[in-house]
Symmetry: C2
């Protein structure tokens, strides 16, 4: 399927936007009039630039508030429109968008509106131009695509058809299945946008909070299915008004946009049983193969892992890389990075077919990772997550053969530790939605409900993306814009957190200090057995309970940009101790600032 994007989705000037769209692989663009007016290049230059870049100008958006008006005003509107049709000839585009009148319509009579649409279409026909009429969700008299379709039928001109926009239809809760009854040759254009579930007036929601497909709450796969079953064969075009994308790097946003369309086309094709637009099948992860911590000097991490009860499982035969294991959890320490603080740098996932997973990811457009491989080393395919984390795939469910590259391990784990419960990644505020799309589209995970945690330097937004069986869970955190970067962490699930913490303390481990006030409240909230409460307090462990079970957990100090968490899930507790997260954020800040008393 051809892909297109409205220039209003992107930051910068028009020529920058066009270059970025072409570089990201779009076939065409919709040009918003405001972008052309602010450009110093003439329409002829823009046309020529698009031709050189291989971009079609699929649609131009200069008209508004045309139909449903008094005769005098309509004459004036026709004069304005004719000037725009002449401009479109200079631009070399033949399709114009007409949104339903939101401001100046005063005539509620459909026959008047249809007659005016017809007259406009006749004028457009003199210039060889087609008109795509779209019902805006807040249109004065026309706000439903079914009303727009009726007007188009009433006007009955060959060059007058519909533009469908998923936002305007789904935001109002209009049933999209009736799209299938529209004549295919009257579906002139399709605009796609997702959006978060917000109880906000539809105009503000539309103008500021749209998202790329796969990042919001709309069922775009189902929506696109209806449009394709109706016989639409034009481009899939994105029209996403979003305050963030207006600010972020134009090239990156264009790539991000292109990935969302490829994901959507693949999902819709899979749902509809079509072969067009299909990628290699996604590979939902079966488990975490390894987590890699990288940095110039990881001696403090070695010490921490040893005290926690991990076993040193050996050194890599040719690189400054070490392996620690415990139960099914493997942590790789990589000291190839020069001058960087310790951080979670890579993640290995086990899938049924690693090559297919990589091919799927490349098909969507995730950037591949290059890593130098020595002779005989296992080569795992990998891509970069939006936050720069490298994600590797290995054939599973058993752990992969790269372990043979490590030798000389001396100890064995104490048997108390378990498996990777979840890995936490963080992203700057402008990359959050992209990270969610990556989790869903590239990694095959599903988003749980998002939450907000009040930290001492602002709200931290969080969403957990998980595989269907919970074997892989990635917690994505969004730091407040003005706050320093958050550390990332890795949570190890154990059978007995108290035993693990006790043993670790005996080996000299110090956990992140937790305020006494927290334990006083814990006792009040949960009517805990006092001896158990005292045990938690003595070990610095935290506790939560929900309807299905309970949760015991504790945090290590932060080393550079990484810390570990020990978690125990009792019965069917499904959360992550979110009520304890503010305590952790505050304690980490105290530790980072070395605040004692003020």
């Amino acid at each position: 399927m051809r892909t297109s994007i409205a220039t209003v989705c992107l930051s910068g000037g028009l020529t920058e936007k066009l270059h970025a769209c072409a570089a990201a692989g779009f076939d065409g663009v919709e040009i918003m009039e405001a972008d052309l007016l602010a450009a110093f290049e003439s329409p002829e230059e823009i046309q020529a630039l698009c031709r050189r870049l291989g971009l079609s100008i699929d649609m131009y958006q200069p008209l508004r508030d045309i139909e449903g008006v008094s005769t005098g005003l309509f004459e004036e509107n026709l004069r304005r429109a004719e000037a725009k049709f002449e401009l479109m000839e200079r631009l070399g585009t033949r399709l114009v968008l007409l949104c339903s009148n939101v401001a100046t319509a005063t005539v509620a009579d459909e026959t008047v509106a249809a007659a005016q649409l017809g007259a406009l279409a006749d004028l457009a026909a003199e210039h060889g131009i087609r008109i795509a009429y779209e019902a805006l969700a807040w249109g004065r008299y026309v706000s439903d695509y079914r009303d727009a379709w009726r007007l188009v039928q009433l006007a009955d001109r060959p060059n007058l058809g519909l533009c469908l926009d998923s936002f305007h239809i789904l935001s109002r809760g209009h049933d999209p299945s009736e799209i299938e009854s529209i004549d295919a040759e009257k579906l002139f254009f399709l605009q796609l946008a997702d959006a978060p579930a917000l109880d906000l007036d539809v105009l503000s929601w539309s103008r500021h909070h749209r998202l790329f497909p796969g990042e919001g709450a709309f069922d775009l796969v189902g929506f696109l299915g209806h449009v394709l079953r109706a016989g639409y064969d034009g481009p899939l075009s994105l029209e996403v008004f979003n305050d963030t994308f207006r600010q972020t790097d134009v090239r990156r946003t264009a790539q991000h946009a292109q990935r969302s369309l490829r994901w959507l086309a693949d999902r819709a094709a899979a749902a509809g049983g079509w072969s067009t637009g299909r990628l290699a099948p996604a590979q939902p992860p079966l488990g975490v193969d390894f987590v890699e911590i990288a940095g110039q000097d990881l001696a403090a991490v070695d010490e921490m892992l040893d005290r926690l009860g991990f076993a040193f499982a050996g050194r890599h035969r040719s690189k400054p890389v070490r392996l620690w294991t415990a139960g099914d959890a493997s942590i790789i320490l990589n000291e190839q990075d020069r001058g960087l603080e310790p951080r979670i740098a890579a993640l290995g996932l086990l899938v049924a077919d690693a090559e297919a997973a990589a091919e799927h990811a490349r098909g969507i457009g995730a950037p591949p990772v290059f890593r130098r491989i020595s002779a005989g080393d296992q080569e795992l395919p990998a891509v970069f997550a939006p936050d720069g984390t490298e994600v590797y795939w290995a054939d599973g469910p058993a752990s992969a053969s790269w372990r043979a590259e490590f030798g000389g391990g001396l100890a064995s784990a104490d048997g108390l530790l378990g498996i990777v419960d979840h890995v936490n990644l963080t992203s700057p505020w402008q990359d959050f939605d992209e990270t969610v799309l990556f989790g869903a589209g590239v990694l095959g995970l599903e988003a749980e409900a998002s939450s907000e945690v009040p930290g001492p330097l602002g709200l931290v937004r969080s969403v957990v993306m998980r595989s269907a069986d919970g074997a892989v869970r990635l917690a994505m955190n969004l730091a407040p814009p003005a706050a320093p970067a958050l550390p990332r962490h890795l949570a190890i699930r154990v059978d007995d957190a108290v035993a693990v913490a006790s043993a670790a303390r005996q080996r000299g481990m110090e956990f992140l200090p937790v305020p006494d006030n927290y334990y006083d409240d814990l006792a009040a909230r949960f009517a805990l057995d006092p001896a158990f409460g005292a045990r938690l307090r003595g070990l610095g462990l935290l506790f939560d309970r929900d309807d299905a079970g309970a949760f015991i957990h504790g945090y290590t100090p932060t080393i550079g940009g990484v810390f570990l968490e020990i978690v125990q899930r009792i019965d069917d507790y499904r959360g992550y101790g979110a009520t304890d997260a503010p305590i952790r954020l505050a304690a980490q800040r105290v530790a980072a600032l070395q605040l004692t008393s003020w």
Copy 2:
């Protein structure tokens, strides 16, 4: 009146918040339980710290979802509450906030809820504690303060009263005048918050978008009047959940908060005819006395002013400061700043009584400006605006005597120029609301409707604050978080913009280039006389029209962080050419990047 603030309004840890509240002049605080739980200091330490700082702990907020529940759950709730009452004794506070049940209430019967409130009050009485019951706007059964008042009357306990919160009452549109019929001794506490007009679900609106009084759309002056007429004499306390204030510097936010309360108390006292809490009378500005541009090297600004037609009116007798004038507009160029780029640094306003204006500003808490004065120099009182601009007052309406300090002017203006139409200030996103409060509270201006301008690097939010007669207008712009700082500008109103621009061009002036595409669109939009359109295009002037008149304007290039605008208002045009602002922002970016073709 005593002032108080909820610790949840501020960023940082609890002890930092307490220090900041004391430094800003608050008399007391409401402590949010989450802040205490995350603190390493014991309740006794917090009590002692507050005593040392001179802060009372006016209220503690640990209870939720207590009343309207099954008997079994209520017993559990009482147990939880008792632990909190014990904690409050350690903290040394005797008033607890109880919000209406939002999550666990299942019993709609008012007599049950009232009986449970009564039982809770009896338990509290054993600890000497009073309960302030508050209707949350999204409470399950109690969401209106009048319902809460009925329950309090039904329960009829001496230590059970009401907490009123302006947000919960005004956001739901409940009539606040009925507050006056509540018994004064039952008004235990008052929480104040403003909020912007948003059509958003009330929970999100409340949790993320509250503002300090004077910054939003609520009539807090009227609201407070009702509460004071009811006989309330407790503290005025702020409870403002706002994503931005959670992130910004705690000391600055506390000062900002304190200023908003002083402003509100003054306004409410003035409206009610009370003398308590009154400041010196505000002095609405009569005109702009001068605008000062400061920087290390202002030669390019001298040249620009000369070409525009300003007259060089002399040098200061003792400082590297020059004066340019034209009509009633005076621009001071100040080269005392070392190492800084040219920028608008100060603004002089003419008022009836400059000393009263300064006293009013100091009463609100605006930080005073210190400036070295030589013998015989005029000393003007001044304060800093939140963005660092210095604002001076001089007795008007005629211009002030400081002009005598300048001598040696050589030229006279060409008579084409006029007066200062508006001065544009910019603020980083976190200071925007504070800037609006400064304009209203300190300068005596009123906010017009705010707007959003799409620029190439994101949306620019803008609000114009003006004096009643429009003689002083400050346009405040908010740059997108990720974008570079915006330049500030100064607009000079003239009678004939075409003549001014023509004369300036003859003197070698180059205006900011405007794209041809803009002029093509102008012709289509307004059916302009072609000769007039060509004249605008030749001079680089822009044009707008509304129902009341028209607007001709043009921009100089940006020098450092400042540019000038020439504006002509035809008939009763009241705007600022907002539709042209995207064109300007794009052209300025092209000029700044020296982009030619890409």
